[in-house]
Amino acid sequence: MIKGLFYILLFYYIGELVSLLIHQFVPGSVIGMILLFLALFFNVLNPENVREASIVITKNMAIFFVPAGVGLMVYSDLFSKSISVILTAIGVSTVLTIITVAVIQEFFEKRKVHKNERNLKP
């Protein structure tokens, strides 16, 4: 667990450094995630080292949002003033994003299956 947390923090730190180099165009945590994935993929890091810590952290991710979520109380005025815009924008945009992503991904998968079926025939 301690070892896992150490490696996660290490990759997070490297990610932050890279992020600074590219003027934080992409956040350090995302770069850290990509680097950790690449290190595991290219056998630079033994997956056993980070397994336990990674599973514990990601399974309980929702609780980490509580401090940010409670921040809503500060903006309650602006919130109640523009509540209709906020909810409409989030609602419409979220539903359309879900539909777009799911439909395109499934379309690609179906096409692949069709291709494979065609290739099987002599």
Partner: protein
């Protein structure tokens, strides 16, 4: 209240309050099986009135519970492992996933901008709304760079996450999506970690793909919002 405040504004008490209310949220969620009773929402609904009642300001609360907020970063990094574990489902899906999430990101941003224009939202509000589909640390960065308010962006991320976790599975069922990869990808792209929580309930593959989608969506949106800004969309 003045006398009580020092006892209830300590790090131990407030962190305990977050864990306690969240635990209660988890048991309510499990008992009722109502998907809108997310542990996060229950926790917020209990904590906000408590802070208002005891007169503890948000800065104090945020400072004392900062440890949890900090963990958002490592949890994004840890998704790299979850991703690695599900490698076999990613192989051969790379191009379709990138295309799907890219399209999703464009649709998401354009929708926010159009609804904002149509309903007369100001630029600050639109800029804070635009990164709502990505995970908090990324969204706060993006909002700051594009002229929004980071804390507001964080709140929108949470609303979007709760909404997507709630409505996402219903939408996917209604449009008849069968593929586990497509389900996970859609939930993670639209509703980041909270979509992933829902995806993990569906299964390991959905969960892992959803975790991957958080990363791709984060990078795509971080790249697309400066472009949208250049095109003077907001």
């Amino acid at each position: 209240m003045e006398k009580v405040r020092p006892y209830v504004s300590s790090e131990i008490f407030l962190l305990g309050l977050v864990f306690g209310s969240f635990l209660l949220g988890v048991s309510i969620y499990k008992k009722t099986k109502l998907s809108f009773l997310q542990p996060l929402l229950i926790s917020m609904v209990m904590i906000i009135p408590f802070l208002k009642f005891t007169g503890i300001d948000y800065q104090t609360f945020y400072h004392q519970t900062h440890f949890l907020n900090f963990m958002l970063g490592p949890s994004v990094v840890a998704l790299g492992y979850v991703l690695y574990e599900q490698m076999e489902y990613i192989r051969g899906n790379v191009i379709s996933m990138l295309t799907a999430v890219f399209a999703g990101s464009v649709v998401g941003i354009v929708c926010v901008v159009l609804v904002g224009k149509w309903m007369g939202a100001d630029k600050i509000l639109t800029a804070s709304l635009a990164p709502k589909s990505v995970t908090t640390p990324i969204a706060m960065c993006i909002a700051e760079k594009s002229g929004g308010i980071p804390a507001l962006a964080a709140a929108f991320v949470v609303i979007c996450g709760i909404f997507g976790g709630l409505v996402g599975p219903i939408v996917l069922r209604k449009i008849g999506i069968k593929s586990k990869v497509a389900k996970g990808l859609a939930l993670g792209s639209a509703s980041h970690a909270l979509g992933t929580v829902k995806a993990m309930e569906m299964g390991a593959i959905e969960g892992a793909i959803s975790g991957l989608a958080i990363g791709i969506m984060g990078v795509m949106t971080a790249l697309l919002i400066p472009v949208a800004k250049l095109l003077m969309l907001f």
